[in-house]
Amino acid sequence: MKQTPLYGRHQALGAKIIDFGGWAMPVQYSGILDEHKTVRTAAGIFDVSHMGEVWFRGPRAAEAVQKLVTNDVAKLADGAAMYTCACRPTGGIVDDLIVYRQTGESFLIVVNASNVDKDYNWFVEQSGALCDVVNRSDEFALLAVQGPEAVAVVQSLADAPVAELKSFHWRSAGVAGVAAHVARTGYTGEDGFEIFCASGDAGKLWDALLEAGGKVGLKPIGLGARDTLRLEARLSLYGNDIDEEHTPHEAGLSWVVKGKGFIGEEALAKQKAEGVTRKLVGFVMKERGTARHGYNIVDESSKPIGVVTSGSLGPTVGVNIGLGYVPTALAQAGTRLQIDCRGKGAAAEVVNGPFYKRRS
């Protein structure tokens, strides 16, 4: 299994380690519920160095990126970032990404760990002739600091006013003496940063953040709580909720299909005009039972009509929640669904929007 530069620290902290897409990653330290609460009420630090970083450089970099992503790259100013999908010509989702613009000739795309090779090959194949496309995933570590105290903790160690960064903006800054890119992005539904640094500096940065954050209750957080946090915030997980079999329109991501001249544009325009036949919905369990990835959503006669893509207890909202694909006719908020929880039917209700929204 591949290890991040912080693997030894996770072991020393007593983390439970799992194989996540070929990476030995911490799934929990103190426990998922405790870690989840810590991020909602104080702050948490996550090692997400397994994620991939692909850089696009050259006079035609913007064009190269736009060809690959569904969202509108022209809208990005220097120092801005956006969430987007990359699609196949069919509209199937290759990956969901964040595109960061450094300058008009330099872009960073952060990709999911399990998709690094697939994405990089796709990017080079489609856009390699337009600019330099470089997979620098192994050079970079990525730490996320998330939660109501996160901004203050990172600012206390930074040599630039990172607290002034707006959501989905980034800049370079020294943090604890480490040269870094600091981005106001995350995957938890909380405020905070994602911090890129050289792999060799990750230990120093991690130690400094843990120490500075310790006073306000910051703790290390594993992938287990990362999953419950993102699910409550209703953020999609590639491989669970979205994949090449589904399109952004079906996944409720039409809001990132705004670009022009990207791969899959035609198929997505056609699908939008005709209307989708199935939709990813959020639901809250109304009866005892936890919906889990792969469970069937069934009709009155127990016939499968859809499938659960994510589900667990929402620790902050205090109810069992989930995501799943259903026929469009059943996607309206308030619709009753029946989930087959290991042979036992349990009622659920479709809800709009995130399950959890932080008070701003």
Binding site: K16, G31, I32, T290, L313, R342
Partner: protein
């Protein structure tokens, strides 16, 4: 290690424990099971008076990450259920051998108890599983 698997209990391959007192057997899940599951969020248990069959599923335990069946270590009638677990499943995480007990059975055939592992055998079994 010995505190993790008390000597006065019997154990199953499915990671339940059984405490034998006369013809009554109290059943729960072992420390190993609890640690594998992580934070437990829900338990479904049988009702008093139900008859359980050895090795048959008698309930489920759900954690944030997983769901797992509970298997009866021996056959018997349920005479007591740890009802507080309904509202406080975390007792299982906190103290799986005491407050986290699940059901108490009136044993039908005391011989079935002989087939269960003792603490030493169970720990050897865990080691063997680990090396696989």
């Amino acid at each position: 290690m010995s505190n993790d698997y008390p000597n006065d209990l019997r154990y199953t391959k499915e990671h339940e424990w059984a405490r034998v007192e006369g013809n009554r057997v109290t059943v729960g899940i072992t420390k190993f099971a609890v640690e594998s599951l992580g934070d437990i969020t829900q338990v479904d248990l049988p009702k008093e008076g139900e008859d359980l069959k050895k090795d048959a599923v008698f309930g489920t335990v759900e954690s944030v990450k997983a769901v797992s069946d509970l298997f009866a270590p021996v056959s018997g009638k349920v005479v007591k259920v740890n009802d507080p677990l309904g509202d406080s499943p975390e007792y299982i995480n906190e103290d799986c051998y005491d407050e986290g007990w699940m059901v108490q059975l009136e044993v039908k055939d005391a011989k079935e108890l002989d087939a269960l592992m003792n603490a030493e055998q169970y720990q050897a079994y865990l080691k063997e599983q680990e090396s696989h």
